[in-house]
Structures are given as structure tokens and as C-alpha cells.
């Protein structure tokens, strides 16, 4: 990878930068580092702005990387200044704001202050939790759920076509078959639009009030994700929105839950359901993830923030999604009334309202997911 065109010390400085970047969590592998050095060969390496952009386009691969990249760049090159002689001044590149949807909450000092004023319990509890312990019976339950979930799921028609008995004429296959008969198209072969499993998006509330159920719900998420890895998305919702789809794709449930445990920064913290839902819709849902999908929200609806925001976002979600299923573990308690303000605001926009307090209940939920509205009559449908 070492460049032949650069002096040795430049190469070493740049290698050190790549290593720093890796330590900061940017997946700058050898291939990317090679691209970085190839890029430096074509540019003026004494110009900090050139190095900044060369590194940014070659070493980063997602919008989430850019924040780390900027921080590493500023930090590393303040310790290793550019030996150009003509720009000894500390390096400053005007960094454009990245990903406004994500930055909105963190960067706005006023907004954050307001939220803290409105809800004292909204303090982010940034700690990881070890959820690696599963009993043998629980494993068996997971296996059962998996078997139930792996096969069935509501389907939708795609634009992709597949050979079929009815439908459009399949000219390619007809011609190919006709060659066997000296060019006589004896049989007309056809193709029609295929069906695909619908995308399932799961938003799991991992705030303090939901902590007894969070493990079971994440196990359900893993079962769903393993059944259809390509069309399942999992997020944890608390004080931060964390995408867990990648972690949930691990084969071993223990490993998946461990990975999720270390990926979630806000275990058992507060809830900002409305804000989180808005962030989900802004950065993922509206762009296409929620469109035509089956969206599962697992939460008790204890919203301490502004409830009208949650109502508005649920309405938005209801318009985008194929169906919205709300899983509330507290629903199973005798004499349950949806008294939590957030729950009340969300109810008009929910298609199915089910409980998820035990593994049995989760299995019932699985039938709602796979078989459609089987449980509506028993569980009671909020929306006529």
C-alpha cells in the first residue's frame, strides 16, 4: 500500500491517521486505505483541504462516519501538523453540517434545554447492559417462535416478474423453447408479477418502564430478522434512536442480543417516543422504509414529552405504513385502560393493539404478524 510518490514521513503520518480513524470506529479497511494513498498521489498533500477531502471520499462509507472523521482529522492533524512551510496556521476546513435529521436534537442547545425543563426524568442513562443470560427454556421458546416466524409473513406484489401460468407472454423463454422444435413456438410461455414478503419494521422501547420486557422483545426482533433478513429492520427507542438491524442479523441469538446490548447506548433511560418516532420517519421511514411495511411498535406509551407530537407522528406513520401494530405489555393486566397520555394519543392511528407481556403473548403477536388479523376479534380492535 505504501506510496512510491510520497516521502516516507508523509506516508507514515497518513498511515497513523488511518489507524486513528479505525480506532474511532470508522471501517477504514486496507482497501479503503489503499484508495486513500492512491488519491494522495494525484493531489497536493501539503494542502490540508485536499487531504481532508481525499480522506473523506475514500475512507468514509456512510453519513454516520463523517462526524467521527471530522473529529479525528481535527485532532490528529493538530498533533501532526502539515510540513508545508506555507500554512503553519492550525488547520480549519469549513465543515458542512452533516445529516441534519440526526444533528437536530444534539446540536440545538435551546431545544435540549427545553426538553430537560419539561421532563426531569429525560436524563439519558448511557450505560450498556449485559443481556447474555438466557435459560434453557427460554431458548426453546425462541426456537419455537423462530419456526413460526421464519415461514409466513404478509406478502405484496412486486414489479419483478416470474414464470407463471397466466400473465404476459414470456418471449425469451418462448423463443428458447421453440428452438427445440426448429423455430416453431409450439407452447406460449408466460410470466407474471411475483410476490415478496412485506418489510417488517420493529421499534422496541428500551426505556426504564419497559426494561422487564425489553429482552423478550429483542428476542422476538431477532426471530423476525432471522426469518427474513433482507426485509426486517429493527430499531431501539429510548432517548436515542439506534438501528439494530445489523446486530439482529447474527445467527446466534445470544450473540445478537449481546451485540444489541453493546450497541444501545441508552438502556433503561427515559422515553422521548414522539421525538424518536419523528427522527425515525425523517431519516428512514418517509424515504421508503415505512412505506407499505408492517410497523410494530413495542412500548407502554409512557410519553413524558409533548403528546401532540406523538399523535401527529403516529398519524404520519399510519399514512405511510401498510399496518401499524402496537405491542403494550401492560395491556394484559386486568382492567387495563389506555390511560398513559401517549398511548391515548397514538390509539386512533393503530391497526392492531396487542399485549406482549410473556412469551405466550409474543407468540400470539407472531400470529398477528404472520397471519394478518387473526387476533383482532379476541384482542379487541381499537379502530373500526
Amino acid at each position: 500500500m505504501a506510496s512510491t510518490l510520497q516521502p516516507r514521513e508523509v506516508t507514515e503520518t497518513m498511515l497513523g491517521f488511518v489507524r486513528t480513524l479505525r480506532a474511532a470506529g470508522v471501517a477504514a479497511d486496507t482497501g479503503r486505505a489503499q484508495a486513500f494513498f492512491a488519491a494522495l498521489d494525484t493531489l497536493d498533500v501539503t494542502d490540508p483541504a485536499r487531504v481532508y477531502w481525499a480522506g473523506r471520499v475514500t475512507l468514509c462509507s456512510a453519513a454516520a462516519d463523517l462526524e467521527h472523521y471530522d473529529a479525528c482529522f481535527a485532532h490528529y492533524f493538530s498533533a501532526h501538523p502539515f510540513r508545508s512551510g506555507r500554512s503553519p496556521a492550525p488547520f480549519a476546513v469549513s465543515r458542512p453540517a452533516v445529516w441534519p435529521a440526526a444533528g437536530r436534537r444534539d446540536s440545538g442547545g435551546d431545544v435540549a434545554a427545553e426538553e430537560h425543563a419539561a421532563a426531569a426524568s429525560d436524563v439519558e442513562v448511557l450505560r450498556s447492559r449485559d443481556i447474555a443470560t438466557l435459560t434453557v427454556e427460554e431458548r426453546a421458546e425462541v426456537a419455537r417462535l423462530l419456526a413460526a416466524l421464519a415461514t409466513h409473513r404478509p406478502r405484496r406484489r412486486t414489479r419483478r416478474t416470474a414464470p407463471a401460468r397466466h400473465g404476459r407472454l414470456d418471449r425469451a423463454r418462448t423463443i428458447r423453447a421453440s428452438l427445440a422444435h426448429g423455430g416453431e413456438p409450439l407452447r406460449l410461455l408466460r410470466r407474471d408479477r411475483a410476490t415478496r414478503p412485506r418489510r417488517v419494521v420493529l421499534l422496541v422501547d428500551i426505556s426504564g418502564s419497559m426494561s422487564p420486557y425489553a429482552d423478550a422483545l429483542l428476542r422476538l426482533a431477532h426471530a423476525l430478522a432471522r426469518g427474513h433478513p433482507g426485509s426486517t429492520e429493527v430499531f431501539s427507542v429510548g432517548t436515542r434512536l439506534t438501528r439494530l438491524s445489523r446486530e439482529m442479523r447474527l445467527r446466534d441469538p445470544d450473540a445478537a442480543l449481546r451485540a444489541a446490548g453493546s450497541a444501545i447506548p441508552d438502556w433503561s433511560g427515559g422515553t422521548r417516543l414522539g421525538t424518536e418516532l419523528k427522527e425515525f420517519l425523517d431519516s428512514h421511514g418517509q424515504r421508503g422504509m415505512a412505506r407499505g411495511a408492517l410497523v410494530l411498535i413495542a412500548s407502554d406509551g409512557w410519553e413524558r414529552g409533548d403528546v401532540s407530537l406523538l399523535g401527529a407522528q403516529m398519524a404520519r406513520l399510519g399514512r405511510l405504513a401498510y399496518r401499524v401494530v402496537w405491542v403494550n405489555p401492560h395491556k394484559a393486566q386486568p382492567g387495563y385502560q389506555p390511560l398513559a397520555a401517549g398511548m391515548r394519543a397514538a390509539l386512533p392511528h393503530i391497526d392492531d393493539f396487542v399485549s406482549g407481556h410473556s412469551l405466550d403473548a409474543l407468540e400470539r403477536l407472531a400470529t398477528v404478524v404472520t397471519g394478518g388479523r387473526a387476533d383482532r376479534a379476541r384482542e379487541g380492535a381499537p379502530r373500526a
Partner: protein, 311 residues
């Protein structure tokens, strides 16, 4: 490959040269865009562009084609797109006619019939094949738009194409690009594009432009607009996009495309400056959601006054 690249673009030796060429095509590239395109050109790697809708990803590809003087070929991805729509397809009606003609002429040799059937004249070139065949002299630009809309099977298929710029047609042989096109991929992030594809690309996140650049872009696109109108429009749009501004919580913050549209709409009404009245009448060119429409019109005068105060 790099020698031909260098020969064709001997005049582009720094990102500034490229920026100047893009400028001639009315695309005002910032430092990041210019460097990213320059590296894509020099290193022969695809450029993977991400950014909010309306920041000018597609425009960049078009301008780049103009700057290089080559053809611009666009492949719009959608769900269910397959090789027949991206690479090539056989012209089946013509093949059937050919079979009939051969039958009437009395040809019965199946092998000969088959080889005649898969002739280049029966091949319909789709965007990817066209991009390979078009690169004659000047380098073309192949835009693979909204790759995230295609299925992941299609991504895997693109991998092969992007790594060696060849297409093998079983019945005809391998088609190779004489000068490989500059490939620009865009994504709106409706789903995560596979790492293997990203690894082959240079990644660039396009942010919204800052005040001066946006005003310059609008001025360039609409030279007849008064400079007061351009500045007021830019200030209002920038404020709507500002993540720190608590009121501007829009479902879809306007992009540059929208600010140009808005200015054009205001000019069509004969406006020389922004006023609450003409802004309210033309708001449909700026925001495209009912909720956004309501929230912007509610604070329209504050939006315009805020600009007055900062000037």
C-alpha cells in the same frame, strides 16, 4: 486504463481545473464536490453520492458529462429492475420474423438458425451496455440513479459490472469498454446499500450549500432575478433548513431545486423582492407537504422579518 484517462484529460490536473469546467456548465461545485469528482476521474473509481433530495446529485452527473464532453447515460433504478432492463435484451419480435423468413427460405439446419438468431442486430442495448459502447474518444458519464430502490440482487450484479467494465453475452461474447465511463451512483438511503458495493466506490455526502453559494447558484440559473429577491429567497430557505431553528421543523426541508423553483415562481408573478403576500401565493413551489405548508405560512412574516433584522 490510467494512461488513456490521462491522455483524454490532460487539461484536468487539479480539482480547480475540473471546478472551472463544471462552472462553464453552470454547475458551481464546492471544494468537496470538485475533489471527489477529480479523484473519481483520476482513480477510475465509481463515485457514490448521498444527500438529501434536491441537493443536485443528478445535476452534478449531467454537468460532469458536459465538462468531459462525453455522452450522458442514465439508468434509473426501481424495484424489480433486472438484467434485461439494465444490460441488454434480445429483440424477440424480430427474431421470430427471422425464424419465419428462414423457414420460408427452407433452412433446416438448427445450428445455423441459432447462430443467425443471436446476431448483434437483434440485440437491444440498455443503459449499461450503451455506456460501454459509447465511450469512443471522450469519456462518458454513467449515472446509476437511486440504487437503493433496486433489489439487493441487482446490486450484486452491478458489482461485477463496476469492477471490470465488461459484459459477457453468452450468445455473442464479451463486450469491453475502450474508455470506461465515469460512474456516478446516487442513493436516498431508503435502505442500506451493501458494503461490498460501497467499497469499490468513493463516497461523498452532499450537504446543502451555504448562503453565498446558494445565492450564486440561483443567480446563475435565473440571471433575470433581482439580486434583492435572490438574497431574500436564499436567506428564507437557509433559515427553513437550519437544524437549530426550532420553528423550522419541516417534513421535507427545501433543497436547491426548490429554491430555484420558488424564485422562478416569484419572478413569474413579477416580484422584485420577497413580501409576505407573494411568498404566500408561491409557497407551493417551496414546500410540498400540507403540514409544512401550514407551519411555514404561520411564521411567514417572522421568516421574512428575521432576514430584515440580520441584514
Amino acid at each position: 486504463m490510467s494512461t488513456t484517462t490521462r491522455a483524454a484529460h490532460a487539461d484536468i490536473t487539479t480539482p480547480e481545473d475540473l471546478a472551472a469546467l463544471l462552472d462553464q456548465r453552470d454547475y458551481l461545485a464546492d471544494d468537496g464536490v470538485a475533489t471527489a469528482c477529480f479523484l473519481a476521474l483520476r482513480m477510475g473509481r465509481p463515485l457514490f453520492l448521498e444527500g438529501d433530495a434536491g441537493v443536485g446529485k443528478t445535476e452534478l452527473a449531467k454537468a460532469l458529462a458536459g465538462a468531459l464532453g462525453g455522452p450522458f447515460i442514465r439508468l434509473q433504478c426501481y424495484e424489480g429492475i433486472d438484467a434485461a432492463q439494465a444490460l441488454y435484451d434480445w429483440d424477440y419480435p424480430r427474431q421470430l420474423l427471422h425464424l419465419r423468413a428462414a423457414q420460408v427460405a427452407g433452412a433446416a439446419d438448427t445450428a445455423q438458425l441459432e447462430s443467425g438468431l443471436y446476431d448483434r442486430r437483434f440485440l437491444l442495448a440498455r443503459p449499461l451496455l450503451r455506456a460501454l459502447e459509447a465511450g469512443d474518444g471522450a469519456r462518458g458519464v454513467l449515472l446509476i440513479d437511486e440504487i437503493d430502490r433496486a433489489d439487493d440482487e441487482f446490486e450484486a450484479f452491478l458489482l461485477e459490472f463496476l469492477s471490470d467494465f465488461t459484459i459477457s453475452i453468452p450468445e455473442l461474447g464479451t463486450v469491453r469498454a475502450t474508455t470506461p465511463p465515469v460512474v456516478v451512483l446516487t442513493s436516498n438511503r431508503t435502505r442500506e446499500v451493501h458494503d461490498a458495493l460501497k467499497r469499490r466506490c468513493l463516497y461523498h455526502w452532499m450537504a446543502h450549500p451555504e448562503f453565498d453559494r446558494e445565492a450564486a447558484i440561483i443567480r446563475r440559473r435565473l440571471p433575470e432575478a433581482t439580486s434583492r429577491l435572490v438574497e431574500e429567497v436564499t436567506a428564507a430557505v437557509q433559515q427553513l433548513r437550519d437544524p437549530v431553528d426550532p420553528g423550522a421543523d419541516l417534513l421535507k426541508p427545501p433543497g436547491i431545486a426548490e429554491s430555484i423553483d420558488w424564485t422562478a415562481a416569484l419572478m413569474a408573478l413579477g416580484a422584485r423582492e420577497l413580501s409576505p403576500e407573494n411568498a404566500a401565493r408561491t409557497l407551493g413551489a417551496l414546500v410540498k407537504h400540507r403540514e409544512d405548508h401550514e407551519s411555514v405560512s404561520r411564521r411567514l412574516s417572522a421568516l421574512l422579518n428575521g432576514h430584515e433584522a440580520t441584514r
